[in-house]
Amino acid sequence: MIINKKIAVSETGFIFNPATGDSYSMNPIATEILEMLKKDMSEEEIKNFLLEKYDVNKSVLQKSYDEFIDTLIKLNIIE
């Protein structure tokens, strides 16, 4: 899973895709996940990190994570 190189991501969760002119905003957890993806962390590593930090159980996290990744793929932000 790699982030589309052309895409600009700010720390505040603002994303700009120069190819399409579209911009997006993310909530803090989404921003955090994208940061980790950028650092080439694996899904396992990302999830473990989140489980440590947040009050959330594994199944809720898994589902939220899958849904988010799915959306990122649809939006061509990761490929």
């Binding site: 579209d22 909530n27 989404a30 955090e32 959330v56 994570y65 849904e67 990122l72 939006l75």
Partner: protein, 450 residues
């Protein structure tokens, strides 16, 4: 170290250009407390979903309405419209505030009597009153509002058997410029039927005509419609005095004031557009005061205001069950209350607020209930922070019609609590058990399995 609150990760496209209908965020603050009592604490103690009624809010709204009318007119009387919310505790808050009772069925009539309302302070409306009902109402000196000629003739017959003259009013329907016109109930003003009914009552000499009544519709957004209604009833009263030298005790203008909810399909929020009590009061009282009514004998003004007095006081708290993606890509959130408990979801774009802290990032979602039915939609489209399973939400302004029109469909009704003015929480209707429902059934011997 305490772990942080988890919010589902979301990403949302930013729209450049004018914001659309749902582009405005509905709520900026979570609703964690009602009357300073924690919503989450109440949910864990009394179960989810949970109806919560604020006594403080009822009394505050009632005081506002009362002030609006009493500062403009000498004699004002509210009569609590039982059908709007007939949980006894709710009715009794209104009765303690001085409200009479307005009922439309024997079930409601008996409830009012059991609540301790004097017979002569019960207004009996509605098209269906059996002879038995009418006899009881006459005996108790209740105010019987006649709906049609069949009832009028029945009542004249019944009157012969009683020592007391039945106290009656007629319900009048009329054109006030409001669509749809509620012409199913009562006698029509424009075609002369109402005047005819008045004459029949006066000629019969068997009934004591004490008032005139109308109820022009519900959620009326134009106060001026009430000015028309009041002036038409005043006209009838003036003609009655001219012909029979008979003064009426009261004019009952019914209910129908809009609450601060937002009607479906409306682009503007109800809180900004619904007329205030002052607007309705100004229209009605100006119309009565400027009429030809005898200033020495002004009739009492009765109001049967329902939803505008109770909507704000009721909330429904519940829990998120799941998140889903619909086939067309829309996001959906499933909560544990459906249209079985929230009948008014068919009319209103309800205000729904998370009961826990959230970030300022939101998404558009469809909110569905748990019923296995397609119509079970609470909000077709609502802008909410990312909610996850187990999060809580509060639906506001649901005090009217839900606790009377709720359906016992595939599940049981939950607890209803009232927070009193000293912040004590009371269960005012217990959650149902299977036995409450199936206890009424019986299975013929030959169909029994065990």
């Amino acid at each position: 170290m305490k772990k942080l609150n988890f919010e589902r990760p979301i990403i949302k496209k930013l729209n450049v250009g004018p914001s659309h209908k749902f582009g405005l965020k509905t709520e900026f603050e979570p609703l964690t407390h009602i009357d300073e009592i924690s919503v989450k604490d109440m949910l864990s103690e009394y179960g989810s979903p949970l109806f919560i009624i604020s006594e403080k809010s009822i009394r505050k709204t009632y005081a506002e309405a009362k002030r609006a009318f009493e500062t403009r007119y000498p004699k004002v009387q509210f009569a609590w419209s039982y059908k709007t919310n007939y949980l006894n505790a709710v009715c009794n808050v209104f009765h303690k505030e001085g409200s009479w009772a307005e009922v439309v069925s024997r079930f409601e009539y008996d409830k009012a009597v059991d609540n301790g309302v004097d017979g002569n302070k019960i207004i009996f409306n509605g098209p269906e009153k059996t002879e038995d009902d009418l006899n009881l109402a006459v005996e108790n000196g209740s105010l019987i509002h006649i709906d049609h000629f069949d009832e009028l003739y029945t009542l004249i017959e019944i009157a012969q058997k009683h020592k007391k003259k039945p106290k009656v009013a007629i319900r009048v329907n009329m054109d006030t410029g409001i669509y749809p016109m509620w012409d199913r109930f009562g006698f029509n003003y424009e075609n002369g039927e109402a005047w005819e009914a008045v004459n029949r009552i006066m000629m019969s000499n068997k009934l004591d005509l004490v008032g005139l009544h109308t109820h022009i519709g519900t959620f009326i957004m134009t106060a001026s419609a009430y000015a028309i209604a009041a002036s038409k009833l005043a006209d009838l009263a003036v003609n009655l005095r001219r012909k029979y030298n008979h003064n009426l005790n009261y004019i009952d203008i019914g209910g129908g004031f809009a609450s601060r909810n937002t009607l479906k399909g409306s682009y503007l929020l109800g809180i900004d557009t619904s007329p205030a009590f002052d607007d309705y009061a100004e229209a009605i009282t100006t119309s009565l005061i400027n009429s030809q009514l005898d200033p020495e004998n002004m009739p009492m003004l009765i109001l049967e205001t329902g939803r505008a007095l109770i909507d704000d006081a009721g909330s429904l708290a519940g829990t998120v069950i799941a998140n889903k993606k619909l086939s067309d890509g829309r996001h959906a959130t499933i909560v544990n209350f459906g249209v079985n408990l929230l009948f008014t979801a068919f009319w209103y774009e309800h205000k729904i607020t998370p009961a826990q802290e959230f970030s300022q990032h939101s998404e558009t979602t469809s909110l569905f209930g748990p019923l296995c039915m397609n119509i079970d939609q609470i909000r077709e489209s609502i802008y909410l922070p990312a909610l996850k399973k187990g999060d809580n939400v509060v639906v506001s302004r649901i005090g009217a019609y839900n606790m009377t029109q709720w359906m016992q469909f595939i599940t049981l009704r939950p607890n209803v609590v009232m927070i009193d003015t000293k912040q004590n929480v009371h269960v005012i209707r217990q959650n149902e058990t299977n036995k409450d429902i199936t206890g009424l059934e019986s299975v013929p011997e030959h169909l029994k399995l065990k």
